[in-house]
Subunit: 457 residues, 2 copies
Amino acid sequence: MLREDVKNTLIKVVGAERYLDRIEELACYGYDSYLEESLPEAVIFPLSTEEVAAILPIAGKHKIPVTARGAGTSVCGAPIPIQKGIVLCFSKMNRVLELNTQDRYAVVEPGVVNGDLQKNLTPLGFFYPPDPGSINISTIGGNVALNAGGPRCLKYGVTMDYVLGMEVVLPSGKVVNLGSKNIKDVTGYKLSALFCGSEGTLGIITKIILRVVPLPETARTIMVSFGNLDNSAQAVSDIIGSGILPVAMELMDKVTISEIEDTLKLGLDTEAEGTLLIEVDGMAETCEREMARIKEKVKEHGAVSLTEAATADDRENLWKARRFAYPVFAKIGPDIITEDVTVPVSQVPSMVRKIREILNKYKVMAGILAHAGDGNMHPLIPVDRSNPEEMAKVHRAIGEIFQAAIPLEGTLSGEHGIGLAKSEYLPLVMDENTREFMTVIKRAVDPDNILNPGKFV
Amino acid sequence: MLREDVKNTLIKVVGAERYLDRIEELACYGYDSYLEESLPEAVIFPLSTEEVAAILPIAGKHKIPVTARGAGTSVCGAPIPIQKGIVLCFSKMNRVLELNTQDRYAVVEPGVVNGDLQKNLTPLGFFYPPDPGSINISTIGGNVALNAGGPRCLKYGVTMDYVLGMEVVLPSGKVVNLGSKNIKDVTGYKLSALFCGSEGTLGIITKIILRVVPLPETARTIMVSFGNLDNSAQAVSDIIGSGILPVAMELMDKVTISEIEDTLKLGLDTEAEGTLLIEVDGMAETCEREMARIKEKVKEHGAVSLTEAATADDRENLWKARRFAYPVFAKIGPDIITEDVTVPVSQVPSMVRKIREILNKYKVMAGILAHAGDGNMHPLIPVDRSNPEEMAKVHRAIGEIFQAAIPLEGTLSGEHGIGLAKSEYLPLVMDENTREFMTVIKRAVDPDNILNPGKFV
């Protein structure tokens, strides 16, 4: 609980109905989709930039931590208020302020759900490419703060590639406007990029200008099975190396496919050691030719069966397996760790082998799921966090997976972020000077360390 | 001239042959393609990161300004050492360190010429998309420091979109490694983005990891004339608004075409008030269909003639007019100002009208050249800098052009940067808080203000 006088000052800004501090209310805002929990002392729902600009100096004056929150779908613990204080929850600041397809941008408040933005854009013939697994729940503010990815980022790029500008409230309460609605703009430092992936540690994003793009004319989707996991990974590496750029190229191993089939009964090939879901999009003729080349490639790599979507429903069904991987493994649980190791695509076969070896060595049951086309792998590890022995074993396995990625020039996270999950591993991929440089930036922008303290910086 | 003891310390680092300080030598390093000049006190040609890391603390200790320089093709004065000191010229640190088309990246030293990188990539079936006008002279280090654009950035994006990572020497001499070879990487702040467009004010870039992409299968190019400038601008806005994304869509007005034709005798339509050069690329069928739609659109907007390139030579010829615009106007000179105002594409017709009105009002002779598809306009203004009256008049006209861009939500620079040319106009597009925020970052990273001082921050 915050001090009564501080509470009253904050209530003066937002009103009592948007200030929560009863324990049963706070309980909903102390966790995300990672394993830890830490209750805040208060949850505030801002409705405007002005409110945020009024709140931060109050927090600063009393050295109260402030952690921004979207929908809490982060899997790395980024929005967990580990040093308590205030959670600023943006779920009510969720207006789409402007859609301009002529100039190809959208202006949104941070609480807009990614999927809701898509629903606004579809009738206009446009879309916003980044599609994290949480697309129907997670907010644009959270997507930007974590620099979210997703399957189709293989072709289209990640969140940062679509951020043209933003309005940010700095810890001082000062409001800055970074970037503009212009696709090309080189007036001064690219400071909006600094906030992409900053995990709420530098400022509070209150408005975002996003680039949007026309919907492709059509798409084609296939699912391919391989008798050997290595072959499926080699096919991915070869397709990318040959110059084709599918929208998505998702790899699932036998464990993943078996668990999904057990739950969903989709008729998947549970004998396959490796399964690829591959999609291309664009003009019909382009899709035709690209898909023909992809089919040649997967055959060269020993594909044993191939299912092609003939209709939109078929396509939806093929994607269903991939989309349900996370909930299926979460259900095995009781808890789940979704890892996020990334390597250059030529190293995907080696890394997949390594991950499987390490999981076997530690007798950790896990599925391997990957946005394989960009080398981004997600081992899905059901765990019981109340079992310290199991947790210690999984922890060692994960550490070893990261260690294995380093000689392959890989990195700790392709799209999930650092949060609480990976701070300890940061030195594996970032030398001391570079970590210190992050701290220099953090101190300059947030000298009192009130924004999301206790995280990676 | 630097103090003798400082000079000797610096020569100990790089040797006497890579340290210049005779006036006739310095004269070559005090200007770029903007109008001002300021001689440095010494020019040093580093060959390695270690040398740069040794030089910066020496400069810091003696508070000597350090300005990085590539090929000096900047048109905004960014590499002009306005407060003298040391110019670090990267022309000798120009090795392509790694080309990996399988994983789609290149690692280069900052002095690699953009065009030389292209020559290395072409035989491998790849290219690096950003193509500033200076492509055959300018260096990747300079391109990154200025976040350079170019005609094909309409489809492919600007320099920053291709920077995966970099090695930077901070003013302290500490070396930091930002980003990685992984296409997706969200481990910590996106600090490499901070250096894109920072114009040498934050650190010295000593190595760059660039994303490279497969060459398109084919391209198709047309040149279209309009009897009315407004119609040509409307056609651009309409093509983009309809969802087509050409590689390039270049607009030239009558003054530009006439001057080019006078010099080059290419058989251009000098009666046309507006001329568009439009190119699409990709698979043959896609190009065919996109070009068919583009032709419909330009006809709807009253195109009076259309020339289509049938061969690679034809295509080269169509581009020749566009490429020679700058040298043709520079020759009219004796000097030239290349402006760089940008607006959202729907505002291109209004902005083109405004620019022409303002040029007429001040009786300034200038061509209008534009990467019109992304709203990026380059008035080419031949001037005589020794004529103060003329310069004052041109200066007023330019100020008015920027003023005109603001209500259209435009900005000062799409791809040329701020440098010396535009600092005074920065408040037009950036509020005080945001400018102050740039200063906060600058002070944190370069507390002694030794890197390229006297510029926009």
